[in-house]
Symmetry: C4
Subunit: 234 residues, 4 copies
Amino acid sequence: MLLESLREQVLHANREIARRGLAPHTFGNASGIDRSGPEALIVIKPSGVDYATMTPADLVVTDLDGRIVEGKLRPSSDLDTHTLLYREFPQIGGVVHTHSEFATSWAQACRAIPCLGTTHADYFHGPVPVTPSLTAEEVAEAYVRNTGAVIVRLFREKSLDPVAVPGVLVAGHAPFTWGKSAAEAVEHADVLEYIARMAFRTLLLEPSVTGLPVFVGEHHYLRKHGSQATYGQR
Amino acid sequence: MLLESLREQVLHANREIARRGLAPHTFGNASGIDRSGPEALIVIKPSGVDYATMTPADLVVTDLDGRIVEGKLRPSSDLDTHTLLYREFPQIGGVVHTHSEFATSWAQACRAIPCLGTTHADYFHGPVPVTPSLTAEEVAEAYVRNTGAVIVRLFREKSLDPVAVPGVLVAGHAPFTWGKSAAEAVEHADVLEYIARMAFRTLLLEPSVTGLPVFVGEHHYLRKHGSQATYGQR
Amino acid sequence: MLLESLREQVLHANREIARRGLAPHTFGNASGIDRSGPEALIVIKPSGVDYATMTPADLVVTDLDGRIVEGKLRPSSDLDTHTLLYREFPQIGGVVHTHSEFATSWAQACRAIPCLGTTHADYFHGPVPVTPSLTAEEVAEAYVRNTGAVIVRLFREKSLDPVAVPGVLVAGHAPFTWGKSAAEAVEHADVLEYIARMAFRTLLLEPSVTGLPVFVGEHHYLRKHGSQATYGQR
Amino acid sequence: MLLESLREQVLHANREIARRGLAPHTFGNASGIDRSGPEALIVIKPSGVDYATMTPADLVVTDLDGRIVEGKLRPSSDLDTHTLLYREFPQIGGVVHTHSEFATSWAQACRAIPCLGTTHADYFHGPVPVTPSLTAEEVAEAYVRNTGAVIVRLFREKSLDPVAVPGVLVAGHAPFTWGKSAAEAVEHADVLEYIARMAFRTLLLEPSVTGLPVFVGEHHYLRKHGSQATYGQR
């Protein structure tokens, strides 16, 4: 069986989605990539299988174009979004899609989450962006792949760095997050839900709030990221 | 004892109502129908009995008109709504009534839940409709049966397909959902609560939101339903 | 030891307050009364003792005027509210005070909870009333007893029946509920919190909502109460 | 190993932060101080270490200026806020920092929590204050220490007693609370979150609410604090 260790990691990340309550039923999926070989290989959750009974062998291995390399089950129906993100964001090692409640509510409201506090600034450099809606043509042509395409286009147009902004809201749908690994992607999904909850309540309390001053956000972000980071153990 | 397997399924669905927190105390009830014999038989929860101690033998078997065929306990006080739905919607095999908090809040606000995202579109084709209020005459005449009648009338008037729209909000009361089986009906009750929570928050964030474009909703619904479905395993 | 069985019931009701999350820390208290002897005796929680370690012997027995008949610990600091309610509402057998979150939010907003749905109508006949604030004189004179007095005055002025309306919000403070027994009083506290949550969300969704038509509320209330009740087992 | 008993207490307080859900991941930290020796010694959580695996030996001992006296791990990145609070508020024995959701939402909204009910009045004498934002100069110079400085300045300017007001919201960031011990500081953090949730909902229900009359708040505060306290056991 190919990629046993990556399969374990991806299975664990999928179970974390359920354990943390980030997606009910079988909504939501996690994948990881191994870029060390001659050809990059992706491990992803099968479609519609219960997290509780899933085993490493149930996971599906594909290449960067989504062709199945190993696996008897159908891959997640969101596979083409994952593969496009891996092709276009070569820095990332894991992708997670959830339907977590508050992040999804922001996505449904078609609103980016402004940076209102240091919890946000520690993880996301600037707002969590929201994509435009797909056009009828994009939906008809290739809905899932174009969901990835609309994310990548947004990051290009706004010159966003996917390492500094490790997630996005897809308008009318739900969030995608990513990271160095599947484990980090699911941590980002969890933190995103957390800041989505707090931003929701902050705005209800004070609709005119303008957000954290940029110099505070900058300071907090750099406390955790980059060569000058002082957070955690060396 | 008649219908042992259906009794087990219906008992399980009633317990799921409690386990998923869809109704406190003994509010809420599930039933299932066996249409295979010469006469259809319904299995339903007894009234006001605790889920934890209920056994298959406590369930009540009735015919399509609600006449008790087997059982020592009184059936759920909502029986006449269940039987009317089974008579009028011959495609359905299970009915669930909950007082889940957010769906009930929408019902109390007398508002249909608009389709604001793909989570909704995966399960409900269009808005989750809300009935008009019963008139004083309908309440006095036969409150429980007329609760069913007002649901059926709404579906007729709006040409709604109960398979594509597997649930409804009864104004000032609470939701009813249904499905192929009692298990699917309770899954729909759970998803309904989930989309009710997200729609509530979406509208508080953005009162002017107009909802998911129809072509996206259509695409998502058909991903999971009908002959072209691509979700899950074959 | 006096009243062993009532002590057990009251201890259980106090633990239910904690188990159902109706009051954090040691906020909240339950009592019960035995009116069968020549003199009525009240059993109440001691003040500031942890629910987890409390034993029946820790409970305090008082007479109707709050004089300690048996017990080494100080009674709940809310004792004088309990005793006044027992003196003025001879129909009741148990009293519960919680700081449950949503009911307390309504109390802090100084707003009665309107009857917006059948869940409410099944338990409370009409709105859950809110008291006026105590005056500075009432606070200075006897804060705890006057908390009871302001409740009783409200019920008198509005001709409310404490059996049909088994609870109240004390403005700027929190709810009190009661019932035939301590167990029923805590069930009413739990249902009150539940309807407070749903009424909160209903009003946010639809500020202009006017409430359940009286004829529906009446029908639902009588389904569960009085000689024509059809809910539950005979 | 220095201060074994204090290490146990501080470890317990850090675990309480996690157990009560007051901070996800490793956000949040607790410390305690021993002022009995010739030099006061502080015990604080190490930075970015998981609560579940932390042992007393992992905690870091520093002096009042934050110089490490014992410990192999880096102290919490918020150390300089803790030490400044201990230097300026000599009455306190424990400090807790959380990112609890509702208190943080108030902090992000840059709003003090008004005293709207007796639950609040039992613990905080008056509103829970919010600091002004740090200036760009304060952030650049010494962000963490100046977070402490802005708290202390606020208490001085408003003549607030840190014993009567055992916590604060740092604008755009999150709450800090304190108490006689680390255990009391974490209890205050928990109660703060609780009153933040209820104040949020009270204001959504009734934006014009003006708060608890001062004479009620005063009465409640004195019921639990000072020489005339009547709450709890002697």
